[in-house]
């Protein structure tokens, strides 16, 4: 002990003590910290991936290949991310009923839990955009007017002024955005499904996506105000012209026929 005592004033003594102290706290932490939760999360994730793979083999593998590598009937899913799965399956577009110009929206047959499992499996194939959190897509507090400007600049050339949808080439179309879950709108912008271009966070930051969602909720939802009366679809002058011919001129012609049939006639005598 003499040796130790003699060196207790050595310039490096403090450092040695510090190392011992760190080793002790680290060791104690490693021994006592509540580690099991993190481990359980890991196993659930791998469980989700396993379950997702099982669902994938049943519903998706026919076209996208056994390992998501794609085939002549469907693109590769490596790197599309969980957001793409949540959008495509969550809106019922996938699994597709039949090939065509565009896969339409239909009734979703998976629960959100199952969708998350498939998403986890696809996300495990390669990094890609992940399902947004509620804070990311929530329109609360977003700038509606800015959203409108962004929508008219980036979206309305296909989706119409207020998101009523429009035609693309060869039977493809931009669908109506009315009643679409804000999460799905966000994911669509993020991933660019089917014929839509994608707007990743680098070109359209997360808060501007929320602005667009807020604008759509303001102008194209069941709670939107329509100061002019029936909207006739807000599709522009085509339905207006049809309405003017059928109901405007049609009514007036009907009245004209009625009036001409009720005239003063010279009595036969």
């Amino acid at each position: 002990m003499k040796k130790l005592s003699a060196r207790r004033r050595h310039p490096l003594a403090a450092l040695v003590v510090l190392l011992f102290a760190l080793a002790a706290t680290g060791g104690l932490y490693a021994a006592l910290a509540p580690a099991p939760k993190a481990q359980a999360d890991d196993s659930a994730q791998s469980l989700a991936i396993d379950e997702g793979k099982r669902l994938y083999s049943v519903g998706c593998a026919t076209c996208h290949g056994m390992n998501g590598q794609g085939s002549s009937d469907g693109p590769s899913l490596v790197g599309v991310g969980s957001a793409a799965v949540d959008f495509q399956v969550g809106t019922g577009r996938m699994p597709a009923q039949q090939p065509g110009a565009q896969i339409p929206k239909k009734k979703n047959i998976y629960s959100q839990g199952e969708i998350d499992q498939i998403a986890a499996y696809i996300a495990s194939l390669g990094p890609g955009p992940s399902i947004p959190t509620k804070e990311e897509y929530s329109p609360a507090g977003a700038d509606i007017a800015k959203g409108g400007e962004l929508f008219r600049t980036n979206c309305s050339q296909c989706h119409n002024f207020v998101g009523k949808g429009g035609a693309l080439t060869d039977g493809k179309f931009a669908p109506s955005l009315k009643g679409v879950d804000p999460k799905h709108i966000y994911e669509a912008m993020q991933t660019g499904p089917q014929n839509m271009p994608s707007f990743p966070d680098t070109t359209m930051p997360q808060d501007t996506k929320a602005d667009i969602i807020a604008y759509l909720r303001e102008v194209d939802s069941s709670s939107s105000k329509n100061p002019g009366g029936f909207t006739l679809g807000t599709l522009g002058p085509v339905p207006e012209g049809l309405f003017a011919w059928v109901f405007g001129l049609g009514t007036l012609l009907g009245i004209a026929v009625w009036m001409a049939a009720r005239t003063t006639k010279a009595k036969k005598s």
Binding site: A101, I144, A145, K146, G148, E149, R152, T153, S156, Q157, C158, H159, N160, F161, V162, K164, G165, G166, A167, T169, D170, G171, F173, A174, Y215, E218, V219, N226, P227, G228, G229, F230, T231, L232, T234, L235, G236, P237, V238, P239, E240, G241, L242, F243, A244, W245, F247, G248, L249, T251, L252, L253, I255, A256, V257, M259, A260, A261, T263, T264
Partner: protein
């Protein structure tokens, strides 16, 4: 002096109304005017009220338009919106657009008046088309009414541009796209295109000038011309007297109907309020041109479903279906994809304007006509009319191809190809189909005259034969079915004259004779029953 005695027999006016009438008569000559016009006779038929629909919607347009001018700012100055419409708050826009939003959301009754104005515009032009078709199919454009046909046609043509300038004024994203479309069409004009565009917009598109300029044109120039044309149109109706359909007691020399005062005036006045009421009701329940949803115009933005109002739809269709051909030579580009439609657009309209003159030239018909034709009795003309309408409506389908594609789940390319082929094929098919139908109806008329109406009663004769009982038509009905003239086609005359020398006829005369043969020849008319045929068949021997 005897010449200046003030008719001592006339008792002085005592009643205040009488005195007012005396006063105005002395200054305006109202008695004479009223005497000749108050008992003017107007025949009664629903199709004669189509023009009234147009007249009244034009009146409504002027009334509501004046109200809108009180609040509209025809200015391109940039402002930031701070009004009540939340989705546009803080957005930069032109004063024109901001004031239209102001009219829509803040002016009392502003939105209703705007919607009445716009709905009446659509109905006005739709009414003019239907009115024009009524006149066309019944031959109401024939001498002496060719000029009135041109006046009416000018009203339609100017009305389309009046509507277009009005649609452009709010400077919203939809109308701005429409102006951009027009600018593109102007630019496609060879040589002068760029100059015309710079002249119209006062420089580079869109610039600051077009809204104030369109405003002057929309509220002053075109309505002024149109009001003048409407007045001329009406004066000519009074001067020519109204046409009437054939019928017993109706001739080229009389008009059978009700007098202007009191009957027709009451009906027409009532009809004005009905038209106003119907349009107001539509404007109260149905949105038209919701400019607030479209946002202010910015040349870098565009929306799908950007169409003009329906009356410009056929020009939109022409552009949409025309392949995007270009000719490049000597450093210049001739944009056929836009220029060809720009040239066809007036031709579609001019075809219908020139028709009365073409028909009278081809048929040598220089007589006055006050009795209308039944469309079936002029199969060629009716066929032409239907062919024109077919072209018009096929192009409207082309103009709305995107909306049709999404709503009927069709490919927009398929619709475009349908219109491309249909533009050439459908009018021809429609012409022949219409002509056949007309001839069929003529045969039916002939059959009805000679054999009477089928009663549906089956009678068994004593020897066992079954016959259907036919009921002879009344004299009135017979008159309607047989009153029309069936002119003979122009004859070129014998190929050699009486001396055996070959006669020369000009190529124009040959074309004329050929076309006339087409109009009135054997293939285009079923000879109407002659009196002899009628006598023979109805003289009583045997049954028919």
């Amino acid at each position: 002096m005897s010449t200046t005695t003030e008719s001592p027999t006339r008792r002085p006016a005592t009643h205040p109304g009488e005195r007012i009438a005396e006063w105005t008569d002395g200054r305006l000559g109202l008695y004479k005017l009223a005497k000749s016009n108050m008992r003017k006779i107007f025949p009664d038929h629903w199709s004669f009220m189509l023009g009234e629909v147009c007249l009244y919607s034009f009146t409504i347009l002027i009334l509501t338009g004046v109200y809108l001018t009180l609040f509209f700012h025809p200015s391109m100055n940039e402002v930031v919106y701070h009004g009540p419409y939340v989705p546009l708050q803080g957005v930069r826009m032109s004063d024109a657009y901001a004031s239209t939003l102001h009219i829509s959301f803040e002016v009392r009754g502003g939105l209703l008046i705007r919607q009445i104005h716009h709905w009446s515009a659509l109905i006005f032009i739709a009414g003019m088309i239907v009115h024009m078709m009524r006149v066309f199919f019944t031959g109401g454009f024939r001498k002496p009414r060719e000029l009135n046909w041109l006046f009416g046609w000018s009203l339609l043509f100017i009305g389309m541009f009046e509507g277009f300038t009005g649609y452009s004024l709010p400077d919203d994203l939809l109308s701005g796209t429409g102006i951009r479309f027009m600018e593109g069409a102007i630019l496609s004009t060879p040589i002068v295109g760029t100059y015309l565009s710079f002249f119209l917009f006062g420089g580079q598109f869109p610039g600051h000038d077009f809204v104030p300029r369109f405003y002057s044109v929309h509220i002053l120039l075109l309505p002024g011309i149109m009001a003048g044309l409407v007045a001329a149109h009406l004066i000519l109706i009074f001067y020519h007297k109204h046409t009437q359909f054939p019928g017993a007691g109706k001739s080229e020399k009389n008009v059978v109907g009700t007098p202007l005062l009191p009957v027709y005036m009451a009906k027409a006045g009532g009809f004005f309020f009905i038209v106003f009421g119907v349009i107001s009701a539509i404007a109260a329940v149905a949105t038209i041109n919701p400019i607030w949803t479209m946002g202010p115009y910015r040349p870098d933005q565009v929306s799908t479903g950007a169409q003009p109002d329906w009356y410009m739809g056929f020009s939109e269709g022409l552009i949409r279906v025309m392949p995007g051909w270009e000719i490049r030579a000597w450093g210049h580009t001739l944009v056929l994809g836009v220029f060809v439609p720009l040239m066809i657009f007036p031709l579609v309209m001019a075809a219908i304007a020139a028709y009365p003159f073409i028909e009278s030239w081809l048929t040598h018909d220089k007589r006055e006509h006050h009795i209308l034709d039944r469309p079936r009795n002029r199969p060629v003309r009716t066929g032409f009319g239907v062919a024109w309408l077919t072209v018009y409506f096929t192009l409207l389908i082309g103009g709305g191809n995107d909306i049709i594609a999404t709503h009927f789940h069709l490919s927009i390319n398929a619709i475009t190809w349908f219109v491309r082929v249909g533009f050439f094929v459908l009018p021809v098919a429609a012409y022949y189909a219409t002509k056949r139908i007309c001839l069929g109806l003529q045969r039916r008329d002939r059959d009805k005259v000679l054999h009477g109406r089928e009663t549906g009663i089956i009678k068994r004769l004593p020897h066992g034969e079954f016959i259907e009982v036919h009921e002879p038509l009344s004299q009135q009905q017979l008159h309607v079915l047989t009153a029309h003239a069936q002119p003979r086609p122009i004859e070129l005359g014998p190929a050699v004259d009486e001396n055996g020398v070959a006669r020369r006829s000009s190529p124009v005369a040959k074309i004329q004779a050929k076309m006339s043969e087409g109009f009135y020849g054997e293939g285009s008319n079923i000879p109407k029953p002659t009196a002899e045929e009628y006598e023979e068949i109805t003289s009583g021997h045997g049954h028919h």
